[in-house]
């Protein structure tokens, strides 16, 4: 499986605390990768290191074989990367339509995927509920039609049916040639079709494999 993006012995440090202790993670191209781990395991740090939101204190972030070291966040985004942060993912003072418009041209497809957003388009994003804001944040990233899509717990606040629709769309996007990395607390049932699962534990890789393999108990699909 060709590798689209990877972290090579990547270290991330916040002041005196190191959150990632030199992890090696590979994200195969045209596939969905799920990054599992408990709170503080380093999932968000790994995604942020790929997007350039936090600098690496050691190691490399690679994308299509190229070191991302010298590129700032907006330069990576312009080259086709998109990150949906776990929190504060919308511009509260802009309308939903403007939020989606900032993402990119794929505005109509997003409305097609999430028809819930259609009546909200003229409203200011700050006035929406948490779940609706999350939907806008995900929608803005999808509207950019990114080649590498990073999502940090996108299901947070979403209705289960909407989350399932999102997962199905992500799997379909992967078959179209996009690379998706999704961080979650446990493997969602609707993402069983993911190609790879990485489990992080305390800043190190605890497991890498396929979703079918027996995962450590606490990360398995909840029944």
């Amino acid at each position: 499986m060709p590798v689209e993006a990877a972290l090579r012995s990547a270290r991330v440090r916040y002041g005196p605390l190191e959150a990632l202790h030199g992890v090696d993670l590979a994200f195969p191209s045209a596939a969905v990768t799920v990054l599992l781990g408990r709170n503080g395991a380093g999932r968000t740090s790994a995604l942020h290191a790929l997007a350039g939101v936090v600098p690496l204190s050691g190691g490399q972030a690679l994308w299509r074989g190229r070191d991302l070291g010298g590129l700032s966040v907006h330069q990576r985004v312009r080259r086709g990367l998109a990150l949906v942060p776990a929190e504060r993912g919308v511009f509260g003072s802009l309308t939903v339509a403007e939020n989606l418009g900032l993402g990119g041209p794929g505005h109509d497809e997003v409305i097609e995927l999430f028809p819930e957003l259609a009546p909200l388009l003229p409203r200011r994003a700050g006035t929406l509920s948490g779940g609706q804001q999350q939907l806008v944040a995900v929608g803005r990233a999808l509207a950019a039609c990114p080649a590498l899509l990073l999502l940090d717990e996108p299901e947070r606040g979403l209705a289960p049916a909407v989350a399932a629709r999102l997962h199905a769309h992500l799997l379909a996007a992967a078959t179209d040639g996009r690379t998706v990395v999704l961080a979650a607390q446990s493997l969602p049932r609707t993402l069983a079709g993911a190609a790879v699962v990485h489990v992080l534990h305390r800043g190190e890789v605890a497991f890498s494999g396929e979703p079918g393999e027996p995962l450590p108990k606490r990360f398995a699909t909840p029944r």
Binding site: A51, V53, S72, V73, H74, V77, R78, A82, L83, P85, R88, G89, V90, F91, G92, S93, L94, E98, G101, L102, G103, G126, R140, A144
Partner: protein
């Protein structure tokens, strides 16, 4: 009076009204331009460009220098100033001062302090380059004969040019924000810089453009106003700063409102010159007329409510206004318990005791140190502990001094003239409740809105109380006979400063201190934890007002006179910046700052302290928490002592040791088994 004569008077009066209105347009259009600059810069960068006046002054000086001294032709010089130097200055300020702050997500207080730093620095640089003396002959690019309007009224050509500039800039900005993608990106950056980068927007470039535009308009204002004034480093910045009222009236948002307010205020100011009531009212009307923009600033800041600037400008409900978190451990500064706290205390003590060996002028300038330290302590209480921005503490200090002077001169109706000590005490007690003037607005305001209100209150106090004839003439302010000597007075001041420090320490400890800290760090959280936040804010402002009044009274007594210039609002800004730079939540740092402010000015040229504070304040982006939070080189812990040689134990001792060993071994085995299962 015949009908014809009456008609003539009416047309005369109408003609005068029109003439005054046209004259008022000159100031009004400059104010409107300044308003456009402030609004656009705030919308593009999320920062109120408080240094706009200083930028205007710098550009005006440069233009005069190019044209008058270097004999450049006027128009190339104007183009160079406005299109090259001003935008470059804006970009430079963005890169050096504001970008580090925004990257760190600094609160409004620090951004404001950085702005004040730029303000003070630019003034200092102007003084160094061109001297402090007022200069005449600022070039007026469009000067010349007035345009004759029908009806015999004259209109200056530069006023026409200013109006045209307003129209052009307003329309350009409107079109750019409405219809271009750049406008959308700009609003995205202001809303959330980090997220904007995640949507592929180069946030740095966008805010640099905002600063370039803001400085460009500032330069325009400076060039427009300079021909009407003598160019000096202080007058023009203050004048431009007062026009902030225009932007506040527009809630830093609406350009049409800013333009309308600017023109309206300019015309109103001109028309007010016709109002000449007789008797007691005349000084008041004159004061209102010449300070109409200050009145407007106070009114608009109070009326604009808490929503100004705060909305979506990156300062969420819980954002603490200041970064006061220690880089080292919390103990270091907390109660002076750690090593660095003790060191700072020792340095303070030595610095404060040093002047007892001085004599003459040195001792006289040293008298100001404890007094100023008390004023700075009031800022520590209100801003450092309570987290409330207060730019008006100079006003309370002035009230303390003025109150003492009035009481001593027997000018308060019904009160005989009092000796100094009771007069000071009563003045402090009377000023304390006036802390509600800024405390009350603080209940519902935070950040920028609060800063504007407190600045407006302080400025209004200065203009309408301290600078009025009754306050400046015939006041007696003298020390009691037993403190007539400078050394004795200094000792008394030290005593009062000690009392003040103890009070401040009491405010920072125990239940009250925890409640204040909670309010500062997270107001909604403090409310949720049952802290009476409105009451606490009022308490902080009342305590601050009392401390400032005490300090102000001592400043007055030290100089044996009430000097309104000592309590100028700009001085209040400098004091606020000094406290934040020194480390807002450290009482000792405030005392040190007072000593340095006075010492630098007394030891070198006056104004050096301002430049030092300005440079440090402008660098606040790289200095979170002020100087007090700088990492102190920690002494290494003493090497662990070698283990004691096994002592000779009695048989009982040996049995106890064996028992402990077996019990520990058992516990280890047990936890090991638990972990394995």
């Amino acid at each position: 009076m015949t009908a014809a004569a009456q008609l003539a008077t009416t047309t005369d009066s109408l003609g005068l009204t029109v003439d005054l209105a046209l004259a008022g347009l000159t100031v009004g259009s400059a104010a409107a331009l300044s308003g456009i600059g402030l609004v656009v810069c705030h919308r593009a960068t999320g920062v109120l460009n408080i240094a706009q006046g200083a930028q205007a002054m710098a550009v005006a000086y440069l233009l005069r220098d190019l044209v008058v001294v270097r004999h450049w032709p006027v128009w190339p010089a104007v183009a160079c100033c406005l299109l090259l130097v001003a935008p470059a200055l804006g970009v430079l300020l963005d890169v050096l001062v504001y970008r580090p702050l925004q990257r760190r997500g600094a609160g409004p207080a620090e951004t404001m302090v950085a702005g004040l730093g730029v303000f003070v620095l630019l003034i200092g640089v102007a003084v160094l380059l061109w001297g402090a003396a007022p200069l005449a002959g600022a070039p007026s690019p469009l000067g010349g004969a007035a345009i004759r309007l029908p009806g015999g009224h004259g209109l200056r050509p530069d006023t026409v040019a200013q109006l045209a500039a307003i129209l052009l800039l307003g329309l350009t900005v409107f079109a750019a924000t409405r219809w271009t993608r750049f406008g959308l990106r700009l609003r995205a950056v202001v809303d959330d810089r980090r997220l904007a980068a995640l949507t592929g927007v180069d946030a740095d470039r966008v805010s640099a453009a905002g600063w370039a535009f803001g400085t460009f308009t500032a330069g325009l204002v400076g060039i427009a106003l300079a021909p009407y004034l003598l160019l000096d480093p202080y007058g023009l910045p203050l004048l431009v700063m007062e026009t902030m009222a225009v932007a506040v009236a527009a809630r830093l948002r609406s350009i049409p409102v800013a333009v309308a307010t600017g023109l309206g205020l300019g015309i109103a100011q001109a028309e007010l010159t016709r109002l000449r009531p007789s008797g007691q009212l005349l000084p008041l009307v004159e004061a209102v007329q010449s300070n109409l923009f200050v009145v407007a600033l106070l009114a608009t800041a109070l009326l604009a409510g808490p929503r100004i600037g705060g909305e979506g400008a990156g300062e969420g409900a819980g954002a603490a206004p200041l970064a006061v978190r220690r880089t080292g451990d919390e103990r270091a500064g907390g109660g002076g318990a750690g090593g660095s706290g003790r060191l700072a205390g020792a340095v303070c003590l030595v610095l404060l005791l040093l002047p007892l060996g001085f004599r003459g002028n040195d001792l006289r300038s040293a008298l100001l140190v404890p007094a100023l330290a008390l004023v700075l302590l009031s800022i520590v209480v209100v801003t450092g502990y309570g987290g409330q921005i207060s730019l008006g503490q100079a006003g309370y200090a002035g009230l303390g001094a003025l109150g003492t002077a009035l009481l001593m001169s027997g000018r308060v109706p019904g009160v005989p003239s009092l000796p100094a000590a009771p007069a000071l005490l009563i003045a402090v007690l009377a000023t304390a409740p006036l802390g509600l003037l800024t405390g009350w607005p603080a209940i519902r305001r935070r950040g920028l809105a609060l800063a504007l209100v407190t600045f407006a209150v302080g400025t209004a106090m200065s203009r309408f109380v301290f600078q009025q004839p009754y306050a400046t003439t015939g006041l007696v302010l003298d020390r009691p006979s037993f403190l007539a000597g400078d050394r004795a007075f200094y000792l008394a001041e030290l005593l009062l400063l000690g009392l003040g420090l103890l009070t401040v320490r009491a405010l920072h400890r125990g239940r009250l201190g925890r409640a204040l800290t909670a309010m500062r760090d997270h107001e909604p959280g403090a409310v949720a934890a049952g802290v009476d936040v409105p009451g606490l804010k009022l308490l902080a402002f009342v305590a601050g007002a009392a401390l400032a009044a005490l300090g102000g009274g001592l400043i007055g007594l030290a100089g044996r006179a009430f000097d309104p210039a000592a309590f100028d609002p700009v001085r209040g800004l400098l004091w606020f910046a000094a406290v934040v730079v020194a480390g807002a939540d450290s009482a000792l740092a405030a005392v040190l700052a007072a000593a340095l402010l006075i010492g630098l000015d007394a030891g070198t040229v006056a104004g050096v302290s301002a430049v030092a504070v300005g440079a440090l304040a402008a660098a606040i982006g790289r200095l979170p928490g002020g100087l007090a939070a700088l990492p102190v080189p920690r002494r290494r812990p003493p090497p662990a002592l070698p283990a004691l040689p096994p002592s000779r134990l009695s048989p009982t001792g040996r049995r106890v040791r064996a028992a402990i060993a077996t019990r520990q071994a058992g516990r280890v085995r047990k936890t090991g088994e638990d972990g394995a299962s």
